[in-house]
């Protein structure tokens, strides 16, 4: 019996690990969208983060530089998006899509020489506690620092948006950029910052994949997680806590359905593969059905181009 319990503990631990990239990317994108900017380039920024993190790790042999570098690369590529949409007033949707395509292509090119190189062990915290405590050990301990950060991030994001002055400014800009501008808020600057922050978080999410989750470089290794993160933000109705719940459900069912496949349940594989998507949407729709709250959380100006009257 104790074997079963510890197995469940390990299972939960792995579910948590698989949801980290989604939490990071979605939390970043949530801030971007709360400021009224719709950046569909999440997938592209993640994959750029993944390759630059891995490449820097191989070149410098320093994981800290790799992590910081991956975030910076996310920031830089999102700066392209920011410049196009905020300074040159291009359409958010088209620019974001282009960013994703660009990111996938660029990462494949940069990553050619890094295919097949083994990754490095990422330091894990409290590994002794993981072994000594049954069940809770594998859940709470023995993870990378990034995982702990990811699980705190939604709460920080929530606090930032609800309790701080800057969070209020971000929400105000997302609600009505014209009013914000008339109140003397520099809308373009706020939006640039939110875009860059989102880019940095997506870069980190990518690095988590290539440095920690599956420590190696594989072309297109984000495998659509960026799109899931985007969908999570919308289905979680721009609430950070619900993003966390959605990411855990998605990660959970993704892992569980693998086990179900392995055990040989008599359910078509295609259905099992579709299950995480289906369940995440159903659960988020159910927990977000208060239309009044949706209205209050939705950034009214999402995806609309803002330009200042002269």
């Amino acid at each position: 019996m104790s074997l079963d319990i510890s197995f469940i503990g390990i299972l939960i631990g792995s579910i948590m690990a698989s949801s980290v990239p989604l939490i990071l990317a979605a939390s970043g994108e949530l801030i971007t969208e709360r400021s009224g900017v719709l950046n569909l380039g999440v997938e592209g920024m993640m994959i750029i983060g993944a390759i630059s993190g891995f490449a820097l790790m191989v070149i410098t042999d320093n994981l800290f530089i790799a992590i910081i570098g991956s975030m910076l690369s996310g920031v830089i590529i999102s700066l392209i998006f920011g410049f196009l949409t905020q300074s040159l007033l291009t359409n958010h949707v088209a620019t974001g899509l282009a960013l994703t395509i660009f990111g996938i292509g660029l990462s494949a090119m940069l990553g050619k020489d890094f295919v097949g190189i083994p990754g490095k062990d990422f330091p894990i915290l409290f590994s002794s506690l993981r072994e000594s405590i049954p069940f809770f050990g594998p859940i709470l301990f023995g993870h990378s620092i990034i995982l702990y950060f990811a699980f705190v991030l939604p709460f920080l994001t929530n606090y930032f948006l609800k309790k701080t002055k800057l969070g209020l400014v971000v929400r105000a800009v997302g609600d009505s950029p014209i009013s914000a501008s008339n109140q003397g808020i520099n809308v373009i600057l706020v939006r640039y910052c939110c875009i860059l922050y989102g880019g940095g978080m997506c870069g980190l999410a990518g690095a988590y994949l290539s440095l920690i989750y599956t420590p190696q470089w594989i072309e297109n290794m984000t495998a659509g997680r960026g799109w899931i993160a985007l969908a999570l933000v919308v289905f979680a109705t721009w609430s950070p806590i619900k993003v966390l719940i959605g990411a855990i459900i998605f990660g959970g069912i993704s892992i569980l359905q693998l086990h179900m496949q392995a055990v040989g349940f008599r359910i078509p594989v295609q259905f099992l593969i579709a299950l995480p998507y289906l369940m995440t949407i159903i659960v988020l729709v159910v927990i977000s059905r208060d239309s009044r709250k949706i209205k209050l959380n939705t950034p009214t100006s999402l995806g609309r181009i803002f330009y200042k009257e002269k």
Binding site: K165, V169, R171, D175, S179, N182, Q183, G184, N297, T300
Partner: protein, 499 residues
């Protein structure tokens, strides 16, 4: 300390339009100033310059002889110029308190104390912790005013503040404004409503086509004198010669019009019967919400009701849709110009093409004949004196008056036998109203008929040959309009009975 605001030689030129042409004005605290002008006269541009939203091409602003550089809204705020825009600058999804705290420099606790003081002092009743989208227009305006008051302004500018208010809210606003004025705040009140100027303001500056044409004491002015200054010409007193002749043909006849709806926001119509003669204007009066919407939609064919008979030019048309009715030479001008009559996102010529399907040769083999439509649109723009000749302009950039002229032009250019309009002059300024009234009279002079559904009794008495009142979905008896007085209409509109 007294405040003295002076603007000198302000000019602002947009491509194709001089919004402000060398405007100079002087204001002193202790008075309420009116800035009066038609839509598009340049008032809004001037206040946007004063509030730092846009910068002028030329000219200067002085506050107590200090030259202000207003290059952003922040500059205006720093210099204690407060501004309440016509379209509120509020964040709908944020709470009232969040809206007020966003540009505050103090901590939330003392801010709340100060806001509560203001609420108490001016008798404002607003819950600080509800989202702004739950507030009424009047309350939203109060939030804007509080936002200005928090910065203890020297100047408070109100841009068309009553356009969204109920009468009760307007009265409250005027009381507050007078209080602010007594406390030494200089108030500039922008409007196109003449009666408000006379009842509230001490001095009035009239703007026309970007220029200040007159500055005077309000006590020396009357509605007529102000209207003439605003429009720039003597407004002809319009009064139609009533034209009731027994032996004219009935062109339009409605029998047994009944409408039942489960929707609590719709009004049921009960057995309406009426007819319109050739060259006649039938007015239908009533307080809004008594079934006018439903009646208009039934007459235009948007709603088809069973067992109703509508005879138009000797044909039964009760089952026809709006497009088919147009082909029989009926035309319609709905109340809501933006959402019902025109598509604001489309260009002028595209809007013109929208309802002229068959009678015109706008479309050939499913393709749009742009040249023809544009030519036709140009004709409408010039025939109906819309103040642009650019048919490529998006309709949303037309002012209400010009959009209404465009809509009427579009409807009338097909030479309809019957025009049905619903509140055609709603929200328009005097000049545009006069133009529309003249147009409607002209239609009757050409032996074409009109049905005028309106909530404006003055307009109905001016234009109708016969008038009926709709109350709770029932129609009163139809009276010749020379036997009708505003008092009689008032009684009927309130549900009373005469004789």
């Amino acid at each position: 300390m007294a405040t003295d605001l002076r603007i000198s030689n302000i000019s602002k030129i947009y491509p194709g339009c001089i919004a402000n042409d060398n405007v100079s004005l002087q204001f002193k605290s202790g008075k309420i100033y009116a800035l009066l002008g038609e839509n598009g006269a340049g008032k809004s541009t001037l206040v946007k310059i004063l509030s730092g939203v846009i910068s002028p091409d030329n000219g200067e602003v002085f506050l107590n002889e200090k030259n202000l550089k207003l290059s952003s809204p922040l500059d205006a705020k720093k210099n204690k110029i407060g501004m309440v825009f016509q379209h509120f600058n509020l964040f709908e999804t944020l709470s009232v308190f969040e809206n007020l705290s966003i540009d505050a420099t103090e901590d939330n606790k003392s801010l709340r104390v100060r806001i509560n003081e203001i609420l108490k002092k001016y008798n404002f009743n607003i819950d600080l912790d509800v989202p702004v989208l739950n507030l009424s227009a009047g309350q939203k305006q109060k939030v804007e005013i509080i936002r200005c008051l928090l910065r203890s302004p020297k100047v408070l500018i109100m841009d068309e503040p009553t356009s969204v208010l109920t009468e009760q809210e307007t009265e409250e606003l005027f009381i507050s404004l007078k209080k602010f004025c007594d406390e030494g705040i200089l108030i500039i009140y922008i409007t196109h409503k003449l009666k408000e100027v006379l009842s509230l303001c001490d001095e009035v500056a009239v703007m026309r086509k970007g220029k200040v044409v007159s500055v005077s004491q309000t006590q020396n002015e009357k509605v007529e004198t102000l209207a003439n200054k605003m429009v720039g010409q003597k407004l002809a007193k319009i009064k139609k010669k009533i034209n009731i002749s027994k032996n004219k043909d009935e062109i339009f006849k409605v029998k047994h019009l009944n409408f039942y709806s489960d929707d609590p926001f719709e009004t049921n119509l009960v057995n309406l019967n009426f007819s319109v003669k050739k060259g006649e204007c039938l007015g239908i009066a009533g307080i809004s919400g008594n079934g006018q919407n439903e009646l208009f939609q039934i007459l235009s064919g948007e709603i088809i009701t069973p067992n109703t008979s509508i005879i138009f030019r000797n044909k039964e048309i009760a089952k026809l849709n709006p497009k088919q009715r147009r082909e029989y030479l009926m035309a319609f001008s709905p109340e809501d110009r933006i959402s019902q009559a025109a598509v604001p996102e489309l260009k002028i010529y595209e809007n013109v093409a929208l309802n002229n399907f068959k009678s015109s040769n706008f479309f050939e083999k499913g393709l749009v004949n742009e040249g023809k439509i544009k030519e036709h649109s140009k004709k409408i723009l010039s025939d109906f004196s819309v103040n642009t000749d650019n048919v490529e302009l998006k309709s949303q950039f037309l002012s209400g008056g010009n959009l209404q002229k465009l809509i009427l032009g579009r409807e009338l250019i097909t030479a309809p036998e019957l025009l049905i309009c619903y509140n055609p002059t709603w929200g328009l300024d005097v000049g545009a109203i006069n133009y529309i009234h003249e147009t409607l009279i002209k239609i009757n002079d050409q032996e074409k008929s009109t049905i005028l559904i309106s909530t404006d009794t003055e307009e109905l008495l001016k234009l109708s040959d016969r008038i009926a009142v709709i109350y709770k979905g029932k129609l009163s008896k139809i009276m010749p309009s020379d036997e009708v007085t505003p008092e009689k209409l008032g009684i009927l509109m309130g549900g009373g009975s005469i004789d």
